[in-house]
C-alpha cells in the first residue's frame, strides 16, 4: 500500500469580511459579565456545546475508571472483533479495545486540538489587530511575511520542525499552529479594517484612550465573531491534521492512539470492519459539534445583533 498524506484539511486561507454595521461595544462587554448559570439559560445551544466538550474532557480524564482495558494491550487472538458485550465498540487490527483507545485517544486529540486552536488564536488575533489598526508599513510587512508562510507547504514545515525540534506532541501542536496562524491574522485584520473608522473607535481615540485599550476593549469584541466561527471549525481540522503529522515523526507515535490516527488506520479496514472507522469518526464529529455549538453561544452573547434576531 502506497504512502499517502492523509487528511490535510485546509486550515489556512480562510478569511471573512463581515461588513460591520454599527456595533455597540457596551452591550458586547455586558455578555461577559453574566454568570455562567445565567448564560446557560440564555444560550441553551452554547450550554449544550459546552456540555459535549465537558463530557469528552471528563471521559479523557477518567478513562482508567471508565474502562478496564489497557488501550495499548495487543491481543492477536481477537483481531477486528465487532462490537459486543466483551468489547463495547469492538477491537482494532491488533485486537486492542477500540472504546478504550478512543477514551485514551481523547486525551491527546483534545489536548492537541484545543491547544493548537488556542495558540493560533492567541498569536494570530493580536497580530491581526495590530496590523489592521496601525496600517502602513507595519501592516505591509506583517502581511507580506505571512504571505510567505502561506506559500510554504505544511508538509515541508512539519518535516523541518520534526527534524530540528524532534518528534512529539508539543512540536506537532506548534506545527499545526504555524499553519493556522495566517488565517486568524487575515480574519482579524479584515474585521479591524472595517471597524477602525467607526464613530466609537474614533471617539475613543480622540479622548486619548491608549492604543492597547482601543484594540482590546473597543475593537476586539466587535471583531471576534468570525474568529470564533473559524476557531470552532479549526478544532476538527487540527485533530485530523495531527494524525497526518504522526506519519512523519511529529505527533503521537504508535502504539499510542489519537482519534485522527484511529481514523487513518481504520480506513484500511473499511470493508472488513466498518465499526472501526465509525467510532473515531463520530468522536471527532462530537468534538467539532461541541466546539461549534459553544462557539455559536459565545458569538451570540458577544454580538448584540445576533440576539436581536432571536
Amino acid at each position: 500500500m502506497g504512502f499517502s498524506i492523509p487528511g490535510h484539511h485546509g486550515l489556512r486561507g480562510v478569511m471573512t469580511a463581515f461588513p460591520s454595521s454599527q456595533r455597540n461595544p457596551v452591550q458586547a462587554i455586558g455578555g461577559h459579565a453574566r454568570s455562567i448559570a445565567g448564560w446557560c439559560l440564555k444560550e441553551p445551544t452554547g450550554a449544550f456545546g459546552a456540555l459535549i466538550l465537558a463530557l469528552l474532557i471528563l471521559a479523557a480524564i477518567f478513562a482508567p475508571v471508565i474502562t478496564s482495558y489497557e488501550p495499548n494491550a495487543v491481543n492477536y487472538r481477537d483481531l477486528l472483533q465487532p462490537p459486543g458485550a466483551t468489547h463495547l465498540l469492538g477491537t482494532d487490527e491488533l485486537g486492542r479495545d477500540i472504546f478504550s483507545r478512543l477514551l485514551y485517544g481523547a486525551r491527546l486529540s483534545m489536548a492537541v486540538g484545543v491547544s493548537a486552536v488556542v495558540l493560533s488564536v492567541l498569536v494570530g488575533v493580536p497580530i491581526g489587530l495590530l496590523s489592521g489598526y496601525v496600517g502602513g508599513f507595519v501592516d505591509e510587512l506583517i502581511m507580506r511575511v505571512f504571505d510567505s508562510v502561506i506559500a510554504l507547504p505544511p508538509l515541508v514545515l512539519a518535516l523541518t520542525i520534526s527534524a530540528l525540534l524532534g518528534p512529539g506532541l508539543v512540536n506537532a501542536t506548534i506545527a499545526i499552529s504555524i499553519v493556522s496562524v495566517p488565517t486568524y491574522i487575515r480574519l482579524t485584520r479584515g474585521q479591524v479594517l472595517s471597524i477602525k473608522n467607526e464613530d466609537y473607535v474614533l471617539a475613543a481615540r480622540s479622548i486619548g484612550v491608549p492604543v492597547w485599550n482601543i484594540l482590546f476593549v473597543h475593537i476586539l469584541p466587535n471583531a471576534i465573531a468570525p474568529v470564533i466561527v473559524q476557531a470552532s471549525l479549526g478544532l476538527g481540522f487540527a485533530i485530523i491534521l495531527e494524525s497526518s503529522l504522526s506519519f512523519i515523526g511529529l505527533g503521537a507515535q504508535p502504539p499510542v492512539s489519537t482519534w485522527g490516527s484511529m481514523v487513518q488506520t481504520s480506513f484500511q479496514f473499511l470493508s472488513l470492519a466498518p465499526w472501526f472507522v465509525i467510532a473515531p469518526a463520530v468522536a471527532i464529529f462530537a468534538a467539532v459539534l461541541g466546539a461549534n455549538l459553544l462557539g455559536e453561544g459565545l458569538r451570540n452573547s458577544l454580538d448584540p445583533h445576533q440576539k436581536q434576531r432571536m
Binding site: F3, S4, I5, P6, G7, H8, H9, G10, L11, R12, G13, V14, M15, T16, A17, F18, P19, S20, S21, D139, M143, R144, V145, D147, S148, I150, A151, L152, P153, P154, L155, V156, T160, A163, R186, G190, L193, S194, N197, V229, L233, G236, F237, I240, G260, V263, Q264, F267, L270, A281, I284, F285, A287, V288, L289, N292, Q306, Q308, R309, M310
Partner: protein, 317 residues
C-alpha cells in the same frame, strides 16, 4: 488604485525572494537527499565513488549558497533546472500537472459555492429552522471528515457498489470531454466537502448581517416573498464578502488536492508536490512553492483590491 497595484506588485518581490530563500534552505535542512533515495530504492551495493560522482552530478557537492545562486541565476534566464527524480525539465513536469488540479479545484469551488451560498442564505433567513439545523450538521460533518475517508467512501459506494463512475485516473477535457467530467466528479465532491463546511457557515453569517438592515425589512413590508427578498435585495450585498472568502480558499483546495489526487490517482500538482518533498526532488519543490507563492500574492492582491472597492473605509491599508 493603479498606484496601489504597482506598490503591491513591487512589495511582492521581497516576498518571493523570502519564499525562495526559506524553501531552498528548509529543503536542505531535511534529513536525507535524492541519493539516499536512489540507493535505498534500488537495494544494491553502491560504492563511495559512485555516491561522490552522483553528488557532483546533482550539484550537491557545492556550498549551499552557491547552489542557491545557481538556482536563482538559472530562473532569471528562464531555466528552472531538471527534476532530480526524472531528469526532465522542471517546467515540462509541472505544466501538464496543473490542468487536473485546476479543473478539479475549480469544479469543487463552483459546486460548493452553488450549493453553500443559497443554503447559507436560507439558514440566515430562517434561523433555528430545520434548514438551519441541516446546514449546521453539514458544516460539522464537513469539518470533521478527513478527505481520504470521504474519497474512500465515494470510491467504495459510487464506483464499486453502484459502478456509476470510474474509480480513478484522469482524462484531459480536450481528449474526451465527458470522460473528463466523469473523472472529475468524485474528487471534486471530496474537495468540496470542507469548502461547503466553511462556506455555509460564512454565507450564513454574511447573510444574517445583511438581513438585519432596514431596507430588508422594508422589502418584506412591501409584501415581497422570501425568495425575492433574498435574491433581489440581500444577495448583492451579501455576495461580495463571500466571493472574497472563495478567492482565499486556494490553500484549502490545494492541501485537499494532495489527498484526493493520491486516493483517486490523479496526476495533479498536489501529489507532485508531496511526492517531490518526500522524494527530496529539490528543483521541483522549489519551483512549485514559488508558483504557489505567486498565486498567493496575486490572490491576496485581488482580495485587497476588492476590499477597497467594496468598503472605502478599508481602502487605505
Amino acid at each position: 488604485m493603479f498606484a496601489f497595484i504597482i506598490r503591491r506588485t513591487l512589495a511582492s518581490i521581497p516576498v518571493l525572494i523570502l519564499v525562495s530563500l526559506i524553501v531552498f534552505f528548509l529543503m536542505r535542512l531535511l534529513p536525507g537527499d535524492i541519493i539516499d533515495l536512489i540507493v535505498g530504492q534500488a537495494q544494491v551495493e553502491v560504492s563511495e565513488e559512485t555516491i561522490a560522482e552522483l553528488r557532483l552530478q546533482y550539484g550537491l557537492d557545492e556550498p549551499i549558497y552557491v547552489q542557491y545562486f545557481n538556482w536563482v541565476g538559472g530562473m532569471l534566464r528562464g531555466d528552472f533546472g531538471l527534476s532530480f527524480r526524472s531528469h526532465q525539465p522542471v517546467i515540462d513536469i509541472i505544466l501538464p500537472r496543473l490542468v487536473p488540479t485546476l479543473q478539479i479545484g475549480l469544479t469543487a469551488l463552483v459546486l460548493s459555492a452553488a450549493f453553500a451560498i443559497p443554503f447559507g442564505a436560507i439558514c440566515a433567513a430562517r434561523p433555528n429552522s430545520v434548514w438551519d439545523r441541516i446546514g449546521s450538521m453539514l458544516t460539522f460533518v464537513g469539518a470533521s471528515t478527513p478527505y481520504f475517508l470521504a474519497g474512500g467512501l465515494l470510491i467504495y459506494f459510487v464506483a464499486f457498489r453502484m459502478r456509476m463512475l470510474p474509480p480513478s485516473g484522469f482524462v484531459l477535457p480536450t481528449v474526451d470531454f465527458w470522460a473528463s467530467m466523469k473523472h472529475t466528479i468524485m474528487p471534486a465532491i471530496t474537495l468540496a466537502l470542507s469548502l461547503v463546511a466553511i462556506l455555509i457557515r460564512q454565507a450564513r453569517a454574511s447573510f444574517s448581517d445583511v438581513l438585519r438592515h432596514p431596507y430588508i425589512r422594508t422589502a418584506y413590508a412591501k409584501g415581497l416573498g422570501e425568495t425575492r427578498v433574498l435574491i433581489q435585495h440581500a444577495l448583492k450585498n451579501a455576495l461580495l464578502p463571500i466571493v472574497t472568502i472563495l478567492g482565499l480558499q486556494l490553500g484549502t483546495v490545494f492541501s485537499g488536492a494532495v489527498v484526493t489526487e493520491t486516493v483517486f490517482a490523479i496526476p495533479g500538482i498536489g501529489r507532485l508536490l508531496v511526492d517531490s518533498i518526500l522524494g527530496r526532488d529539490y528543483p521541483i519543490v522549489q519551483a512549485l512553492v514559488l508558483l504557489i507563492a505567486v498565486a498567493v500574492v496575486v490572490a491576496t492582491l485581488i482580495v485587497d483590491i476588492v476590499y477597497g472597492i467594496l468598503d472605502p473605509r478599508a481602502s487605505r491599508a
